[in-house]
Amino acid sequence: MKYSPHTDKDKKEMLGAIGAASSEELFKAIPKELRIQKLDLPEGISELELKKLILEKTGKNYSTQKLNSFLGGGAYEHYIPQVIESLISRGEFLTAYTPYQAEASQGTLQAIYEYQSLICELTGMDVANASMYDGASALAEAVILAVRETGRSRVIFSSSLHPEYKQVIKTYLEGYKIEFVEIPHAGGSFDEAALKREADDKTACVVVQNPNFFGCIEKVDKIESICHSCGALLIACVNPVSLGVLKSPGEYNADIAVGEGQPLGIPMSYGGPYLGFFAVKEKHMRKMPGRIAGMTKDIEGKRGFVLTMQAREQHIRREKATSNICTNEGLMALAACVYLSLVGREGIKEIARQNVLKSHYLKDKVLRLSGFELMFNAPFFNEFVVRCGKETDKITGDLLKHGVVGGLPLGRFNPEMKNCMLICVTETKTKEDLDRFAELLGKH
């Protein structure tokens, strides 16, 4: 399948205009010894054949169409209204470029402005950017902001932070001399007493994930007061759907709010593309990485939108930029914008509520089974850790045969937790799904 339209006649005419005998002449700057004859790849195929090939691949995947999944841990199965896909697949959004020529990109720019506003409302923060790659890299860039702004070198987080997020922070900060202080969790939660001991005048930031990797809701007010009393920045890494009921980072005075925006109308898609949101208090605005859209007027006084504060970015500041980010997750931010607009102030509350009620219903049922206990007593939003009588791998393998993907076995992250699984329940689970899951677990 070729997408280029040229016929032999076209090519001949064009070569004639150029004054070249063949297209080979156009490549004469490339040394002959570097030229290859042919790529060792199969020849091209038609659209019909491509479809067959893909269907062969999808036939080997078992998605949530066939499987009833109770997985969470940073990617979530929420219902995605059809409107979102219909709107973001419009060619004018999908195939548009980054909106540098503002007059030709008002659709994209206004949508970014609305997205920024929605994220600020949801997180309670003052300013948001146009998106980062994902929650983990957004968190890493937040830590870099804190390190640069405070000039300090200690970064504190709880061991209850998502393990992959911890890895990303460490990888990103490889070139900086940072002391990472990972405080062992206390009963699944941030150990405040230990935090009090560790927070000092060398601490650049305290990272709190809420709810944390184990699903536990953290005592954010206490963490905030300890963090700010030593002059460090508070970075809150949050689940956006949970903000339908949970206290927003703005309400507990976080300096930076980041998180994974995938729950906001973006499919799980085996891990990406996702959406990192990044919002700050006004005083940190100038140090925020990423693109920002702003409102302005045109020469006739008409309202319009442009990218602004661009002098922070890589194409102007180069090595002194706030970040290197260029292409971000524009279309995913649009999806989140449509989602939040559609569900609105009542919908986000109701969706969050159903997540809480359904997950607590399942928790009660699971606890009534013998051989299963709740690992942590902390309050939770829509995920909780259950300790099983045997290794979870044995249980999940059996569940899969019944078309159920059990909770996330935690042994893969921490060998001491190989009997534990992280169970997630969203609004997509019916009572029958939950009863059946409990029943299947009960057989172990």
């Binding site: 790529l39 999908l94 490889e174 085996y270 605005m285 409102m295 180069r318």
Partner: protein
């Protein structure tokens, strides 16, 4: 002018539906502690589904896009985004996969990812690839981290990164993010890297040279093998910014040129859509001596089954959660499969043909930035000769919008005054190229006879020229409810 979504709808209007609650109802405050709950509700919109559809549909109609307009943006490779790839990536057996599902249940997607890695290895002449980075700049950062890990394993992470003055801004930004000091090396008059300047810059503390090839003037770095020798002699590595790969696929391979590590942009060379600013994907390829440092997990094949291998002690770690922008990668996989070895090469040849054709049609009315020689997939003009009419490159760009063309890349590379960088890509027809050339020539004439047509452009876009100074001096970055 389109209202803001916050200015549409009214209290109580609903645009969503949820199943009725089928588990016992309860007050949230009976389940969760009061001090963990939100006190101030978010001021989100309350609209109907139709309100929402009309609003965003009308917004989309304010955009230029590849589906509607020619986008000659240099360095962006705005080629056609095939619809079949959208449909395939959107299949529920891809979108409905949770990243932590048991590997036995996701062999299909693992095959797609694995085969994409292999294809990219072949196209780039590299030994291993990671699909983790979410964009080109993310790939650059990953590449820099790999370079650092390599040198650290040899006892000295080294301190500096050498970058040509013609490079894209993400190059120095990525190097700085990684903790390296940036040393800029000048280009010669033809925009190619100055070998003497390079020799002078290389010492035992330079970790890597970041090179774009073809360079940002659209020219192939003829001396690339000598550059590789100079760099390798001082123990440093050679990195390719693969943004301009569209000129090379099936023609020549970075690995053969001496590059140790490279990134590619799936949203450029491999036709995945730009989405108004992403999502993209910036896979990174390396030669065997750097493979151990790639991010984890790697995809490994064992007895006909694919699995994710987390066991790599020398890995740099992770640059994101999970595995990569899988939805984007599926589209690129479809593209590579559709075109095949023959189609991929033809695309490169025709991209270069289109660029040279356009250059020949414009060079009498516009000044080339460098001496006239065949360009690769893009070329650069300078608008500085229009200054005598009081016209800048910016004005030419804005005037093009009136004619229904998106502007080329402007003011990049920095080494060209009033730069205009044009990349037509291979998916544009001769009629489109002719129409664009005619328009550019017309605009050059307008610059002479009636320059205010340019300086006051655009005239017929949804908004006229926007006040960027006002936007930066009086920051308005979000909607706020009045009275708040």
């Amino acid at each position: 002018m389109e209202k803001l979504i916050f200015e549409i709808g009214s209290a109580g209007r609903k645009g969503y539906s949820l199943p009725k609650l089928d588990v016992p109802d309860a007050e949230i405050k009976s389940l969760l502690p009061a001090d963990s709950l939100r006190k101030k509700e978010p001021e989100l919109p309350e609209v109907s589904e139709l309100d929402c559809v009309r609003h965003f549909t009308r917004l989309s109609q304010l955009n230029y896009s590849i589906d509607t307009n020619f986008y000659p943006l240099g360095s962006c490779t705005m080629k056609y985004n095939p619809k079949i790839n959208e449909k395939m990536a959107g299949l529920p057996q891809f979108t409905g996969l949770h990243p932590y599902q048991p590997e036995t249940s996701v062999q299909g997607i693992l095959e797609v990812l694995y085969e994409t890695e292999q294809a990219l290895c072949e196209i780039c002449g590299m030994d291993a690839f990671t699909l983790q980075p979410a964009a080109g700049a993310h790939g650059e950062l990953t590449g820099m981290l790999i370079v650092r890990a390599y040198h650290t394993s040899k006892g000295n992470p080294r301190k500096k990164v050498v970058i040509p003055d013609s490079a894209h801004g993400t190059n120095p930004a990525s190097a700085a993010l990684c903790g390296y000091e940036v040393v800029t090396v000048r280009s010669d008059n033809a925009g190619r890297i100055d070998l003497d300047a390079l020799r002078g810059a290389m010492d035992g503390e330079v970790a890597v040279l970041m090179l774009t090839n073809p360079n940002t003037l659209g020219l192939f770095e003829k001396d690339v093998k000598e550059v590789a020798d100079i760099v390798h002699k001082s123990g440093a590595l050679l990195y390719l910014d693969g943004a301009n790969l569209n000129a090379l696929v099936g023609i020549a391979r970075p690995g053969d040129m001496g590059f140790d590590v490279c990134h590619v942009n799936l949203h450029k060379t491999f036709s995945t859509p730009h989405g108004g600013g992403g999502p993209g994907s910036g896979p990174v390829g390396v030669k065997a001596h750097l493979a151990d440092f790639l991010p984890i997990p790697r995809i490994k094949q064992k007895r006909n089954k694919l699995s994710l291998d987390y066991d790599a002690k020398k890995s740099i770690g992770r640059v994101r959660a999970f595995y990569g922008n899988v939805g984007v990668i599926i589209r690129a996989y479809c593209y590579i499969k559709s075109l095949g070895c023959d189609g991929l090469k033809d695309a490169a040849v025709e991209a270069v043909l289109n660029a040279n054709y356009l250059k020949v049609k414009l060079k009498n009315d516009y000044r080339l930035a460098v001496d006239d020689e065949p360009c690769m997939h893009e070329f650069v003009l300078t608008g500085k000769d229009k200054k005598e009419f009081g016209v800048k490159t910016l004005d030419i760009a804005k005037r093009l919008l009136d004619y229904g063309f998106y502007a080329p890349t402007v003011y990049f590379p920095l080494i060209v005054e009033e730069a205009i960088m044009i990349e037509p890509t291979e998916t544009e027809s001769k009629e489109t190229l002719d129409a664009f050339a005619e328009t550019m020539i017309k605009i050059a004439a307008e610059a002479r006879s009636n320059p205010s047509l340019l300086t006051e452009a655009p005239h017929i876009t949804p908004v006229r020229r926007l006040d960027e100074v006002l936007a930066a001096r009086e920051l308005n970055l979000r909607w706020k409810k009045s009275g708040v």
